[in-house]
């Protein structure tokens, strides 16, 4: 069994109004020195495959086909045993 985690975030240059709203809220709470906030998604996958290379390649395929929209998002995959 392998576990894969996927972080999906908006590409640089794509407006993230939610990130901006979070930043404003943090500043309202008195937190200072925040240069930027970007919000993304975190996805956990429990997989039957044990080979980590195969897992990596399968999850990449999942990201390209569904988990991320590569027009606006990038993704980062981590595989653990």
């Amino acid at each position: 069994m392998a576990k894969a985690t996927v972080h999906v975030t908006l590409k640089n240059g794509v407006l993230d109004p939610q990130g901006k709203a979070i930043q404003h809220a943090l500043e309202t709470l008195g937190f200072s020195g925040i240069n930027g906030v970007r919000q993304g998604k975190y996805i956990e996958l429990d997989l039957a495959e044990t080979d980590s290379e195969k897992t990596q390649s399968a999850v990449t395929d999942m990201c390209e086909k569904l988990l991320a929209n590569t027009v606006i998002e990038t993704y980062r995959i981590e595989v653990s045993e």
Binding site: L15, P17, K41, K65, L67, N69, V71, I72
Partner: protein
């Protein structure tokens, strides 16, 4: 004119467009459930309706774009069958790759539900032939993720090839930032594919196609399709 409306769990404008299609063309569309694998033969128009398919899970339109019926929608659209995606339908068509770009969260984070002005960018298409050049029409929008995004290269290409269908504008037809309800790049409200046989737009022409509902500015789109297909 034979048409089909795709119905997903969470579609909520499927009946609006069915009523409008029947009213304008005299023929009720086939309502096709997303789990079906083939569309009826001999279709002139495929309509992908507005709504919140799959509760907008993951991204608006992402789940619907991978529904069983979409393979046949893509096949027929690529073969030239006219295809219209409205609101969530536009999101589905970008997610499945029939149209360029993506629809992201509105600039001010608010769900926008009101009438907007649109400039009709060109009238030599199957969808817009009954409008007049430079016409300003009033059509309602109702969306949370309507902010059209594409990289600059894609936007330049859309503009230079004449693939922008509608832009948000003010009463006088001026394309201005204050007339942009959601932050869409270059005020784009709707785009065509390369062959102008697929149209996606965020505003709802099917919701303003009856005088009893306050206006008929949506009707010419369906009359254009009828003329094209009869």
């Amino acid at each position: 004119m034979k048409s089909a409306v795709i119905v997903f769990p969470g579609s909520n404008c499927d009946r609006d467009i069915a009523v409008t299609l029947e009213k304008v063309t005299g023929q009720a569309p086939a309502m096709v459930w997303h789990r079906d694998s083939t569309l009826p033969e001999g279709l002139g128009l495929i309509a992908v309706p507005g709504g919140f398919s799959y509760g907008d899970y993951l991204r608006s339109g992402a789940m619907a774009a991978n529904s069983p019926i979409i393979a046949d929608v893509k096949k027929k659209a690529e073969a030239g069958v006219l295809t219209l995606g409205i609101c969530n339908g536009f999101q589905v068509l970008t997610e499945c790759g029939l149209l360029p770009g993506a629809l992201i969260r509105n600039r001010d984070l608010k769900f926008v539900c009101r009438d907007v002005n649109l400039s009709v960018e060109r009238t030599d298409t199957a969808f817009t032939g009954k409008y007049t050049g430079g016409q300003v029409i009033r059509i309602p929008v109702a969306h949370h993720d309507g902010n059209y995004f594409a990289d600059n290269e894609t936007l330049d290409r859309l503009e230079s090839n004449g693939h922008v269908a509608f832009r948000y504008c003010n009463d006088n037809g001026k394309v201005a930032d204050e007339a942009n309800p959601n932050g869409s790049a270059r005020n784009i409200a709707g785009v065509f594919n390369e062959t102008r046989t697929v149209l996606g737009l965020m505003p709802h022409p099917e919701r303003l196609a009856d005088e009893r509902l306050g206006g008929q500015d949506g009707v010419p789109m369906f009359e254009s399709l009828l003329e094209q297909l009869s």
